[in-house]
């Protein structure tokens, strides 16, 4: 399950280019967007959201497939609960990944990427996932460009470099991230973010010293590290711009649901909490 929005990767690339790192970025030219900086002020219009929910192990598609198209479409039995929202929803049926047909065992990895899984067991390298592409464009307007959440298993989100973006599973941790008050007040937080900034600067310049002559191996682990640090640097900057926008206040009865102790037996409630996140950010 992914809840999304933003454009980290692109902005990162701009920065990387600015500092002259020799990393191959083939997609760059066709994806030019305004650079980060003063213009990066949160917008007042409600941001557009997209949510991807993934159900593993499959469903019986024959009972899900909507047979009658058009404005008077008929919802199938499993979708019946959407009936009262029918004027707000547009179901799209019959999508498939041409490269993935018959390779069902990699579902969660390629669900949002459609990457080709070699059928001979050869090298598999994933591609960017749809949610991250949307986040590149839409994430500008939200505090977090995207959220990767999972009830179980791994994340569905993959970066442009084909690296899996880890998901968070712990309800409390997610809650703290979205609604938690940061200790010490605004100025202390700002100081902390600045401090983080100089730490990131340092580890980056340390790693770049080595990376100045990247060899032919295009996907070096060091590249991965550099990319990650760069992105955190941007996240830190973004956090600072958002510092003046207060976090939404939640009623105790609502926050209590997310903060209490859960155990394995409360599967239903646990799942419900995860769906509730879609309204949260």
């Amino acid at each position: 399950m992914n809840i999304l929005t933003n454009k980290w990767l692109l902005s990162r690339r701009h920065l990387l280019r600015g500092i002259g790192a020799s990393i191959a970025l083939p997609m760059l030219d066709c994806m030019r967007l305004p650079s980060h900086g003063a213009s990066d002020i949160p917008r007042s219009t409600p941001p557009k959201r997209s949510v991807f929910l993934y159900i593993p192990n499959g469903v019986n598609t024959l009972t899900w497939q909507i047979e009658k198209a058009g404005a008077d479409y008929e919802l199938t039995t499993p979708l019946k609960s959407l009936e009262r929202h029918r004027n707000e929803v547009t179901p799209i049926s019959g999508l498939h990944h041409p490269l993935v047909i018959g390779k069902a065992h990699n579902c969660d990895q390629v669900w949002l990427t459609g990457a080709n899984v070699p059928s001979n067991g050869g090298a598999f390298r994933n591609t960017v996932s749809a949610d991250q592409l949307i986040a590149e464009v839409q994430g500008e307007s939200t505090r977090f460009p995207s959220l990767e959440l999972a009830i179980d298993g791994f994340s569905l989100a993959w970066s442009r470099d084909g690296i899996q973006i880890p998901s968070e599973r712990n309800v409390k941790t997610i809650f703290e991230r979205l609604f938690g008050e940061q200790a010490g007040g605004k100025n202390a937080v700002r100081r902390r973010l600045n401090q983080r900034g100089s730490i990131l600067d340092a580890v980056l310049s340390d790693a770049q010293g080595v990376n100045s002559n990247l060899g032919a191996e295009d996907r070096n682990k060091l590249d991965e590290y550099l990319t990650a640090v760069r992105q955190v640097e941007l996240r830190t900057k973004k956090a600072e711009t958002w510092l003046d926008v207060p976090r939404p206040k939640l009623d105790n009865s609502i926050s209590g649901r997310f903060l209490r102790q859960m155990n394995q037996d409360q599967v239903r409630e646990y799942h419900r909490l995860f769906y509730d996140w879609t309204f949260a950010p």
């Binding site: 980290w8 598999f124 340092a202 060899g215 682990k221």
Partner: protein
């Protein structure tokens, strides 16, 4: 070859996914190669090899049909430069006689096959130098979560609770292995978590306010003057004799923290604490002893768990250590307690002093007329906690890194240098320290406090690539041999899962570590240290894929005997077993079959062995009627290959094939119908019978005939590893008897698991090779490539020479050329 049953989809997706990555690093090597000097080779390929392939292979592995999803016609003719793993596989299949299959009418002559093999092998050999030259100059291997925690502990003496919510992320694995450089990826979230971790660690190492060491005790049960029975007990002088009993399920003892009350009893601060409980445990005859579980409910972490046996008048003290960040909220539970019943002691207001109290209404509930316990009774007397505990060495290191005099930049420089050197496991490079000094300066200029500015620099050290990654090789030149510093890390992370200690670093500094006799001495020293437990725990866990135990929780209705205690016990068994084999210098044969195993009381009961009382793992001997011996009949292995409801012979076969024979079967084709559970109205059928019907599909049969027999051999063991002679299934009629007969791909047949193990024993070299390969993957932190083959063979030869002694295999590996190369 669709894998059996309903849940195949989910779990095999997992299997296949890892199988993909499996070949990934090898394959990359294969396809990055430069084309050079292959013209002559190619002509020979067309002339000599193509006809052979056309004649014998393409029919099943070509455009029309792709048996096992494998195509030969699409492979690059640039043998040795491209598609190397695939060509290697072809060599392997032809030379082992598996291909072309026995059924075909026109088989190639041995000569024809030999010619093809020779030609292919020669090309692959020729390509080696080119392939090696194309390797990256520096390989980076990220520390796993476990290694990070251990390294931080050794660096600065702080235990980081990485697995807690908000801690570090779980590491991905490949075929069970969690420490492969290519698989351990890094995302921005990782970096954020590392930063937070570093801040938490440094806050504990250098607290803002001085942390006092406190050692406090409290009685488990105390009475206040206004409470009932106070006066009576005071008169009788029994006030300090009141105890807290735990006899029924669901009862909790909550008052476990002595850090309460006045300010001088406050919780001192984050750190490692030693906790002791004085307890008695009364075991009823023919029942399990009381089992004490100490559980931090806020952290959802079990801090301690143990069977307690001690008479009422002779309490014992149990002690353990744990890391605490805030005042602990601990529950003590007797998890072996009897069922809930009315009128138990927790409902009664009468304080508990002895089980023989004739006044108490619960007395007859918990003891019989002879005064013997009816249920497992745990009695708590007192609790004490002391800490935080910082060893002298830890404190010395912390002091060494931190400047003493505020504002003294020379001290800052010396401190950071000493910390960075240890953290990076090597001497610092020219100008490297400057980066960290600059942070201190910038931070001070920005108004940070002196100590905080230094902590910022320390955070940067803990988040730098040189700490988080083990780097091997030089950026400026082609170097395939490890230097002494890299070797020190490789050895230390192999045996201890942590950074090298002072002695190892000294050996590296003096440049003697790469010498075989020194390396041998250091290995022996590392193995003798208690930290080598990390190897005997971590390696078998990854090799045998023990993390999968309990992934599908067994159905409580079908397997009422299965619980958390059993699960923990069955996971411990192979680890204790491995440790025993290594320490006692036993051979690989013990893994296949043995007349002993390692059990705790719970496991002895489960296996039907004579009871043992000491709640530790101990060596016990096995008789044939116990139906156990070696790793393959241990409950862990038998249940990790099962699902929650039944055993899965095909999964057992795949597991054996991978873990013992070192071969990954190709993934099943898509959209094969699962095996349906037996209808209630149909006559009972074993899984084996249903599987036989299933693999009539020829696409399936070609692989299943190699996999299934391996798993069927263990059909006498159910999904949690219990022995049985009849398979319990739904349906009408009697439960069908188990048939564990089978035939190996090479034609040898067996009647049951025992005979199967004998066949494995007769062909120990196959297992020898697998074991060495697994060890190499673990130690080198990468997958094995074609170019490692000769070096692996050399280790296998040494192993044979030493009669397959596991300790000698480990030594041969560490002393091999392979271990000193990237």
């Amino acid at each position: 070859m669709g894998y059996d049953i309903q849940f195949a989809y989910f779990s095999f997706r997992f299997y296949v996914a890892t199988n993909m990555i499996n070949r990934f690093p090898i394959f990359i090597l294969g396809c990055l190669l430069v084309v050079s000097g292959i013209a002559s080779a190619q002509s020979s390929f067309e002339k000599d090899l193509q006809p052979y392939f056309k004649m014998h292979c393409i029919r099943c592995h070509g455009a029309d049909k792709q048996e096992a999803d494998f195509r030969i016609d699409k492979l690059s003719p640039e043998v040795g430069l491209k598609d190397t793993p695939h060509w290697a596989e072809i060599i392997e299949r032809i030379s082992s006689g598996q291909m072309p299959p026995k059924e075909v009418k026109t088989r190639p002559t041995a000569d024809e096959s030999a010619k093809v093999i020779q030609w292919l092998s020669a090309r692959i050999k020729e390509g080696e130098a080119t392939r090696m030259a194309r390797r990256v100059r520096v390989s980076y291997h990220r520390l796993t979560r476990e290694e990070y925690v251990n390294s931080v502990r050794d660096l600065i003496g702080v235990e980081y609770d990485a697995a807690d919510p908000g801690g570090l992320l779980e590491d991905p694995e490949w075929n069970g292995f969690e420490r492969l450089g290519s698989v351990l990826t890094l995302s921005p979230t990782h970096i954020e978590k590392y930063m937070t971790a570093a801040e938490v660690i440094l806050a504990e190492a250098y607290p803002d306010k001085k942390v006092e060491y406190r050692d406090l005790s409290t009685r488990a049960a105390t009475l206040r003057p206004q409470q009932p029975h106070y006066d009576r007990l005071e008169k009788a002088g029994l006030l300090d004799k009141v105890r807290y009993p735990l006899t029924t399920a669901g009862e909790l003892f909550r008052a476990s923290s002595p850090f309460r009350g006045s300010p001088d009893r406050a919780f001192p601060g984050a750190g490692i604490y030693e906790i002791s409980y004085t307890v008695c445990g009364l075991k009823p005859e023919d029942q399990r002893p009381p089992r004490m579980q100490v559980y931090e409910h806020k952290l959802d972490r079990v801090l301690f768990e143990r069977d307690i046996i001690a008479p009422e008048d002779k309490p014992i003290t149990v002690t353990f250590r744990t890391h605490l960040v805030r005042p602990p909220e601990i529950h003590v539970i007797n998890i072996a307690a009897g069922p809930r019943h009315p009128r138990n002691n927790s409902d009664s207001r009468i304080p508990f002093i002895t089980t023989a109290d004739p006044l108490a209404p619960w007395q007859m509930k918990i003891v019989d007329q002879q005064g013997l316990p009816r249920v497992p009774i745990l009695i708590l007397d007192s609790i004490s906690m002391r800490g935080p505990i910082v060893t002298e060495e830890e404190q010395r290191r912390r002091n060494e890194y931190m400047a003493k005099t505020p504002g003294n930049m020379d001290q800052v420089r010396a401190g950071l240098e000493s910390m960075a050197k240890r953290a990076f496991r090597r001497p610092l490079k020219e100008g490297e320290l400057q980066t960290y000094m600059k942070i201190v300066e910038t931070e001070i200029a920005a108004g940070a406090k002196f100590v905080d500015a230094i902590k910022s620099a320390m955070t940067a050290i803990l988040c730098s690539k040189s700490f988080l990654f083990m780097a091997e090789g030089d950026q400026s030149s082609e170097r395939h041999t490890l230097n002494d510093w890299e070797l020190a890390s490789r050895l230390s992370y192999l045996v201890w899962s942590t950074m090298p200690d002072d002695e190892l670093l000294k050996a590296a500094e003096e440049g003697r570590l790469h010498k075989k006799d020194e390396l041998q001495r250091q290995l022996a020293r590392l193995l003798a240290d208690p930290r080598s437990q990390r190897f005997t725990k971590s390696f078998p866990t990854q090799w045998l894929r023990l993390r999968k135990v309990g992934m599908f929780a067994p159905d409580k209705k079908i397997y009422p005997n299965y619980d958390r205690h059993l699960e923990k016990s069955i996971i411990e068994e192979p680890l204790a077993f491995f440790s025993q084999v290594l320490k006692q210098r036993l051979t690989l044969r013990e893994f296949i079959d043995s007349d002993w195993t390692m059990v705790n009381p719970r496991l002895a009961e489960f296996y039907g062995l004579p009871p043992v009382s000491n709640d530790d793992f101990q060596r016990v001997s096995l008789k044939p009627e116990h139906q156990r011996g070696g790793l393959l009949t241990q409950a862990s292995v038998l249940s990790l290959t099962s699902d929650g409801t039944r055993h899965r012979p095909v999964h057992r076969g795949v597991w054996l094939s991978e873990s013992i024979f070192g071969k990954s079967p190709p993934p099943p084709p898509a959209n094969v119908d699962p095996i349906q559970p037996n209808p209630l109205t149909a006559p009972k059928a074993t899984i084996r019978m249903k599987l036989a019907a299933h693999i009539h599909d020829p696409r399936c049969a070609s692989c299943h005939r190699n996999i299934d027999p391996l798993g069927m051999a263990f059909d006498n063991y159910n999904a949690i590893g219990e022995w049985r002679t009849h398979e319990k299934v739904e349906g009408t009629g009697d439960d069908p008897p188990v048939n564990a007969k089978g035939t190996l791909p090479d034609g040898r047949s067996f009647a049951n698991a025992k005979e199967f193990k004998q066949l494995l024993m007769a062909d120990l070299d196959a297992f020898n090779n697998t074991f060495i390969e697994k060890l190499a993957v673990y130690g080198l932190r990468r997958t094995i490539t074609f170019d490692d083959r000769d070096k692996l063979k050399e280790i296998a030869r040494k192993s044979r020479e030493k009669d397959y002694c596991v300790a000698d295999i480990l030594e041969a590996f560490v002393l091999s050329d392979l271990f000193q190369q990237r």
